[in-house]
Amino acid sequence: MSIDQNRELILRMVESQAVLDGRFSNIRRIGDDGGPGNFSLMFTAADSVTGNEVALKVFHPARRDDAYRLASFRREAEMLGEFVGQPNVIQRVSSLADFTEGFDTPLNVRYTLTFSYFAMELAKSDLAAAVAFGGLDAEAKLVFFRDACKGLQRLHVRQIVHRDPKPRNLLVMADRQVKIADLGTSRSLDRDAVPLLPDYAGFWPGDLRYAAPEMLAGLFSEAPELAIYADFFGLGAILFELFTGQVLTLSVFDGSFAMDLTSAMAHVPPGKRRQIYDDFVTQLADGHPLPNLSATGDGAPRCIQLRLDGLYSELCRLDYRKRLRRFESLFRQIEICLIVLRNEEKYLRWLKEKRRRRATLIGAGRVAR
């Protein structure tokens, strides 16, 4: 059995640490297997400095060969440092540190593993769990979504793009505030910033199911600034999933979509990727219409159905040039939805009256003609 398969052994090795960094004790895995991540393992620990329970994010020691993932892990710890004290972004409690631990194999060969970790505030849950098990009312969904947008806005203000917004990376805190987390695939758009992946090599950063088509087309290395548009796409996909329970891209990114995209972008020489994509994206969008939010899964309350449909469609436009990418407009739309939702009866009465007046006007016009 390889070390890689010995997740349980590794989890126990971390749990066996009495104190880490002189402050974190009583280390316990989250869930049965330390969270769903392949590259990082999640633990809870008691922090003697703050007196709070915190989350320890530990890089899987058997995956250290994957230089990109390890660098991403380190960069996440570093980037989180820039957001200390800011709401809607997960707070780092301690900076990156390492510890080593050895173990003997049945053949008496001693292995030493290096564990890198940092501590963050402990969340109660994440949006993925909220979506999976339902139970949120429409207002809570909208408030959670607004928090997620605020978190992403804080990143964008600092010229950082997240590149992997998805329900699992949106943590729900004990006070029901949603915070954006997992900056492992994020990237600074500063001119001096060095990308971890220098060029497109068939490797998409982040979760494919929430990646915008331009990211799937490999434009992120040639035009990193497009990741801003892609983050908005991710937000739209999250909004869709919050109200339908279904992953948007599973309905859009089917075999024919992938075939169209890959055949259009195959054999494109370096430097020409964006130009070719721009020529092709209208056709891609026309050929793959977005599903109607109201006709899918759980749907949304009728009073905000059309607005939500419009909002998510604006955010998820496959053609990034036509996509909504202004937070002001996004927040305004969310606020309108919240107001309508909180005053549903009044709104429906107003709507009925408006329709009646319009019908009267049209009738009068007919008579006049």
Binding site: A132, L250, D254, S263, A264, Q283, G287
Partner: protein, 571 residues
């Protein structure tokens, strides 16, 4: 006398790709995968499925996670795993509409119509105002062949939800399958109003116009779908077919050349391009395209396509006078897919007759008739091949056995031909008279009857029969020759020669050199007989020698010339 051996030897036939048809638009592109994934696409779908599976494992008690997994698996084309995921979702959340709907669709694709019907029927109870269950039930009805019921259900779906694209689209396909193309066009136009920029809708509209034989509108619809989706290979092919029918060969070449450059491994594109070249008689370019298509054809392509391309390649070689290669590819076509249709057999039979390989032609005709006993062309070609071997008895029996089952003017003409060659004139007359009862104005029958009368010295009857064809009607090579024979029998030698020379001229104008030679051979034979009747043995012998010197060495005329030569030598 019409010599059908010549007539049938004329042109090899192409097997064209099917024109745009309702089968081309069975699946709604937004509804499912329906694509053969490339390696990159396969990897993409695998990664998405794996991520979704991990979520489903992590949230194993969430029906939503199971539904997402089911959809991902459906996209990947893994129906049974998707079915499991949806069934698990139903266990977690009984009567979940999405899971029931997807399960219904899976059962439908698996051909389990009973379960599919149950699923959609139960869904109709809980979603009475949605079009989806109606569409599903209609698909079940259509799959079980009840198009009327499918149409009725889809009309119901449209009434429930006028904005349901799936309902209108399916309704259009049902109308097309029922042959009600006008209604199909109306349904598709309504669908286009719902989603005006969907290329597949314009494509489907183009197909329905093509079926309605409205090429101008079909062309416009395909062009719109191509403007919306320039890489849509289906639309390129359909537009090419419409343009080919309208003889816009240059436009087809331009359209296809670009598409072939984009997708050099699409054999259908190359076939269409080859077809355009053939219509322009550029057989060399056509051969190049077909050869590339055949040599690069992946193993997964159905053998019927391989057989079709091989046959068409053989046709190009035959037009290019490379008979050896033509033979090779016709044989390849037959050996690749013996059930691929009779055309390759017929082409090879004609080719062998042209190469004077009557025995081989007969063998192929027998193979063809074993597969397609009703194929009249092979009956004719087989009989002609037997006749060329002077096996008249077998040839005549073959035609007679076919005529016992059904009347057929052409087979009757061939039979009369064989009976005449076998010098059984009375039977030939009987056959032709019987055939003319149903087709009294058939020119081939008239010509053959007149010829048989002439051969049995019934000149007046022959003259009466030939009067049925007006003098001012443009005559074919055969009729001109028969008229020449009549003049000879009437004693007008110069008029007879004039008739035969006219026949040779017409045959040469038609590019049928062999027929011209045959006509000339017949002329010498009949002139020899005429001179002999007048007692001029020397000139008769000269005519016999001229006839035998011609490059045709087999058949009834050669046989008669040889007989005459022997008689003259004795005298």
């Amino acid at each position: 006398m019409i010599d059908l051996a010549q007539e049938l030897k004329k042109k090899p036939s192409f097997v064209p790709i099917d024109p745009p048809d309702v089968d081309d638009i069975q699946a709604l592109p937004v509804a499912g995968p329906g694509v053969e994934p490339t390696e990159v696409v396969g990897r993409f779908l695998r990664q998405i499925t794996e991520k979704t599976r991990r979520d489903a494992t992590y949230y194993s008690k969430s029906y939503r996670a199971q539904i997402n997994l089911g959809v991902a698996l459906l996209n990947k084309g893994d129906l049974s795993a998707a079915q499991e995921a949806f069934e698990l979702a139903l266990k977690l959340e009984p009567a979940n509409q999405t899971a029931v709907l997807q399960l219904g669709r899976i059962y439908l694709r698996q051909g389990n119509l009973v379960k599919a019907k149950d699923a959609f029927a139960s869904l109709r109870k809980v979603m009475p105002h949605s079009a989806e269950p109606f569409v599903g039930l209609a698909e079940v009805s259509a799959a079980s062949g009840d198009l009327e019921e499918a149409q009725h259900l889809l009309q119901g779906a449209v009434d429930q939800d006028g904005h349901s694209l799936a309902a209108r689209f399916q309704l259009a396909t049902i109308f097309m399958r029922m042959g009600r193309t006008n209604e199909a066009v109306r349904a598709l136009k309504a669908a286009v109003r719902i989603q005006p920029r969907a290329p597949f809708l314009h494509y489907a509209l183009g197909v329905s116009y093509a079926i309605r034989k409205d090429p101008a509108r079909a062309k416009r619809a395909f062009e719109v779908s191509l403007r919306l989706a320039p890489g849509m290979a289906q639309a390129v092919k359909a537009l090419s077919k419409v343009l080919l029918e309208g003889a816009s060969f240059q436009a087809v070449r331009e359209l296809l050349a670009e598409q072939v450059a984009k997708d050099p491994h699409d054999f259908e594109l190359r076939e269409l391009l080859a077809w355009a070249y053939v219509r322009e008689q550029n057989y060399l370019a056509a051969r190049r395209q077909l050869y590339t298509a055949l040599s690069e054809l992946p193993a997964s392509v159905a053998t019927i396509n391989r057989a079709r391309i091989a046959n068409n390649l053989g046709v190009c070689y035959e037009f290019l006078k490379d008979l050896k290669h033509a033979e090779h590819f016709f044989l390849l076509s037959i050996d690749t897919f013996a059930e691929g249709g009779p055309i390759a057999y017929q082409n090879l039979e004609r080719l062998y007759l042209q190469m004077d390989k009557a025995q081989a032609a007969q063998a192929i005709a027998e193979r063809c008739l074993a597969q397609y006993p009703e194929d009249r062309t092979s009956v004719m070609l087989g009989a002609v091949a037997l006749g060329e071997q002077e096996r008249y008895g077998e040839a005549i029996a073959q035609c007679q056995s076919f005529l016992e089952k059904a009347d057929d003017a052409q087979i009757s003409a061939v039979l009369s031909n064989l009976l005449t060659d076998a010098e059984r004139f009375d039977e030939a007359i009987q056959v032709l008279r019987k055939a003319m009862r149903s087709k009294p104005l058939d020119r081939a029958l008239i010509n053959n009857l007149a010829y048989v009368y002439l051969m049995s010295d019934a000149i007046a009857e022959a003259r009466d029969v030939l009067r049925q064809v007006p003098e001012n009607e443009p005559a074919g090579a055969y009729l001109a020759a028969t008229r020449g024979l009549l003049r000879l029998r009437e004693g007008d030698l110069a008029g007879g020669v004039e008739g035969y020379e006219r026949s040779q001229q017409i045959a040469l104008q038609q590019g049928n050199q062999r027929l011209a030679v045959r006509s000339k051979q017949k002329m010498h034979l009949e002139l020899a007989k005429a001179w002999l009747l007048r007692g001029n043995v020397d000139v008769a012998l000269q005519e016999v020698r001229k006839g035998l010197a011609l490059p045709l060495k087999r058949g009834a005329y050669v046989r008669d010339l040889k007989r005459l030569a022997a008689r003259l030598s004795k005298s």
